[in-house]
């Protein structure tokens, strides 16, 4: 079975994010980069599938040179090879352009099933997996928490408001992974030591023959407004304090 896992490198969930003064993006200096947590679920599912049915896992990522760390992490977890799409024109690309680059790279290799995270925790767009499936013209099951693959088809569970859908699809298909799908493994020491010896193809947009013209552009990033400090009502008499709260809710906050 030929399995593909798409991964994105994102700032660590605990990183302190600062917007650049000109609003063109975030300050990248000093940030610790990690594999997007939803992509980890995708990689884990890919590895489990390989262990069950045999085959190979290829990880594909779009991003600058540092992205190689994330590809190596997936290789250390157990993937066989990597494709690194590195082109300055694709750094911070929109969802369509990113998916288009992934599609172009994946079209060049055999694939039976493709995993993506359901969204990336940085841009929070949640579109790449779906667009990728459309570009490859294959079915997709998104936000999946349980997956069974066998007999040339995949059965996926997708939670929805108050219920869950059980979806069945032919292969090849795109699965986007949601928390709960599995517990991602740690990269083992032997895995880490072997990761560097595994092949990673580095390609740019020209090599893939794709357009890098964005469909959407980020005009400006602004940090969320600082929360105004709370108000503490001083005083000894609880009744008077309660009356003051009501007055403020009515006159200042205008919520009652």
């Amino acid at each position: 079975m030929n399995i593909v896992a798409c991964v994105k490198q994102v700032p660590d969930t605990e990183a302190l994010i600062k917007v650049k003064p000109d609003g063109s993006g975030i300050e990248e200096g000093g940030i610790k980069w990690v594999m997007n947590p939803y992509d980890e679920f995708g990689v884990e599912e890919a590895l489990k599938l390989k262990e069950k049915l045999g085959g190979e896992v290829t990880v594909v990522s779009v991003g600058p040179a540092r992205t190689m760390e994330t590809i190596r992490t997936a290789l250390a977890m157990g993937a066989e090879k990597g494709i690194h799409i590195d082109d300055p024109a694709l750094y911070n690309a929109d969802a369509y352009t990113t998916a288009n680059a992934l599609a172009a790279a994946i079209k060049e290799i055999p694939y039976d099933i493709i995993f993506c995270g359901q969204r990336a925790i940085d841009g929070d767009m949640g579109q790449v997996g779906s667009i990728l499936a459309e570009l490859l013209d294959i079915p997709q099951c998104t936000i999946v928490t349980k997956l069974d693959v066998g007999d040339g088809k995949a059965t996926a569970v997708k939670p929805i408001e108050g219920a869950q859908l059980v979806l069945e699809t032919s292969l090849p298909c795109v699965i986007t992974a949601q928390k709960g799908l599995n517990e991602p493994r740690y990269a083992s020491l032997p895995g880490i030591m072997k990761a560097k010896k595994k092949p990673v193809d580095v390609k740019n947009a020209a090599a893939l023959g794709i357009s890098v013209e964005p469909k959407a552009k980020i005009e400006k990033m602004t940090p969320p407004p600082a929360r105004p400090p709370g108000k503490i009502i001083e005083g000894e008499d609880p009744a008077a304090k309660a009356a003051e709260v009501i007055r403020l809710l009515r006159e200042e906050a205008k919520v009652i």
Partner: protein, 382 residues
């Protein structure tokens, strides 16, 4: 000069940190309270290849280096210093001694399962009358036919109480049948369960409750001739050689424990409000935390330099002693300041800093006391 980690070292550090956060930290308080040995965590560490990082794959290791190994010790110790001690004794000391000085047969028999983490090692140097003066060992070994007969007592022996502990490597005075001026000190491998080898009761300790420390008692304990380790007359030197790595390991543990103190203090100081504001706003508090961050980084740089020297086969007697001495003394100060910043809560067992404080002092004792480190340093200054 290049201060960057290799990709592998970086991945080892990231993975160990994650493992410590997810698996170790949530269990540390309970383990310290119950004193139960964390066999399940040890099994996971074995599966991940953490017990054999610096050894080649054909000896059950992961083919990494001592820098990677110590990054792992630091991160684990940030979660639970007792696990750092377990790794130190097994890998840095016992497995290394087998790897450096053992015969091929000994490596096959004991090193491989140890590097794989299936078995744990113990190291027996200290005796009731031989602590810092480890050369004063009274335990004896005498050749009798094809067997060595061991008599004596080793004390404070880490790991030996674990069900998975396979051997203790001890030093003993070898009584020669031939006429010899002085007794030799040699090293011997004594498997657990050998007749005549018994364990004293488990020590009641101030900290490291789930570290399996016991007295080892040898009464006419017979081991095959082939369990002699290394070169004749070199036993003490062999032990000291691997203890040098043990010192780097204690330094890495100290840094990990201090890092945990720092993280807890920073979080607490930003949350705790007194005089109408977070106590971090007071220089009396924030300067303590600034000093913590600085000293931790200095200690980390020192142990990493010692590792780098070791990985590059360069002498590092001084660097290992500097790292151990500075890091363990730094750790006590950091733990004390962390407690201070927590005020009365620092005394409460439900706050991790109380556990950290109890666990910091021992780092100035094991693998050579602070005084012994200063002796090593001053003797090597020329």
């Amino acid at each position: 000069m290049d201060f960057s980690f290799t990709e592998e070292q970086q991945m080892i550090r990231d993975m160990s940190r994650k493992f410590a956060d997810d698996v170790v930290m949530p269990r540390a308080e309970e383990l310290e309270k119950t004193g139960e040995y964390p066999y399940d965590i040890l099994a996971q560490m074995a599966d991940l290849g953490m017990m054999g990082i610096p050894f080649p794959e054909n000896y059950g290791g992961s083919g990494g280096d001592w820098t990677g190994m110590h990054l792992c010790i630091e991160e684990l110790s940030r979660g639970d210093a007792t696990l750092g001690a377990l790794l130190d004794v097994t890998t840095s000391v016992v497995a290394q001694e087998l790897y450096e000085f053992g015969t091929e047969e000994q490596k096959q028999k004991w090193l491989i399962p140890m590097a794989q983490g299936k078995e744990i090692g113990a190291f027996g140097l200290t005796e009731p009358g031989a602590g810092s003066d480890a050369g004063a060992t009274k335990t004896t070994a005498q050749l009798n036919g094809d067997e060595w007969v061991i008599n004596g007592t080793k004390q404070f022996i880490t790991n030996i109480g674990l069900d998975t502990a396979s051997i203790v490597i001890i030093t003993a005075r070898t009584k020669s049948t031939e006429e010899r001026k002085r007794d030799q000190i040699n090293t011997y491998i004594v498997p657990k369960g050998t007749q005549g080898f018994t364990l004293g009761k488990r020590y009641d300790k101030m900290s490291w409750q789930h570290s399996a420390t016991h007295e080892c008692i040898f009464e006419d304990c017979r081991i095959p001739r082939g369990y002699f380790l290394g070169k004749e007359g070199r036993g003490f030197a062999q032990h000291l050689a691997v203890l040098q790595t043990g010192r780097i390991s204690i330094a890495a543990m100290s840094v990990g424990l201090a890092q945990a103190c720092f993280e807890a203090s920073l979080k607490y100081a930003k949350e705790r409000v007194q005089f109408g504001q977070p106590i971090y706003n007071f220089q009396g508090v924030s300067f303590k935390i600034a000093d913590m961050a600085m000293n931790i980084e200095l200690a980390r740089n020192m142990y990493l330099k010692a590792c780098w020297l070791k990985d590059n086969n360069m002498p590092h007697v001084l660097e290992a002693a500097y790292a151990k001495l500075f890091a363990s003394e730094m750790c006590e100060k950091v733990a004390s300041d962390a407690y201070q910043i927590h005020g009365g809560y620092g005394f409460m067992n439900e706050y991790a800093v109380s556990r950290y404080y109890k666990g910091c002092k021992i780092l100035q004792i094991v693998e050579g006391t602070s005084e012994v480190q200063r002796m090593v340093i001053s003797r090597n200054l020329g």
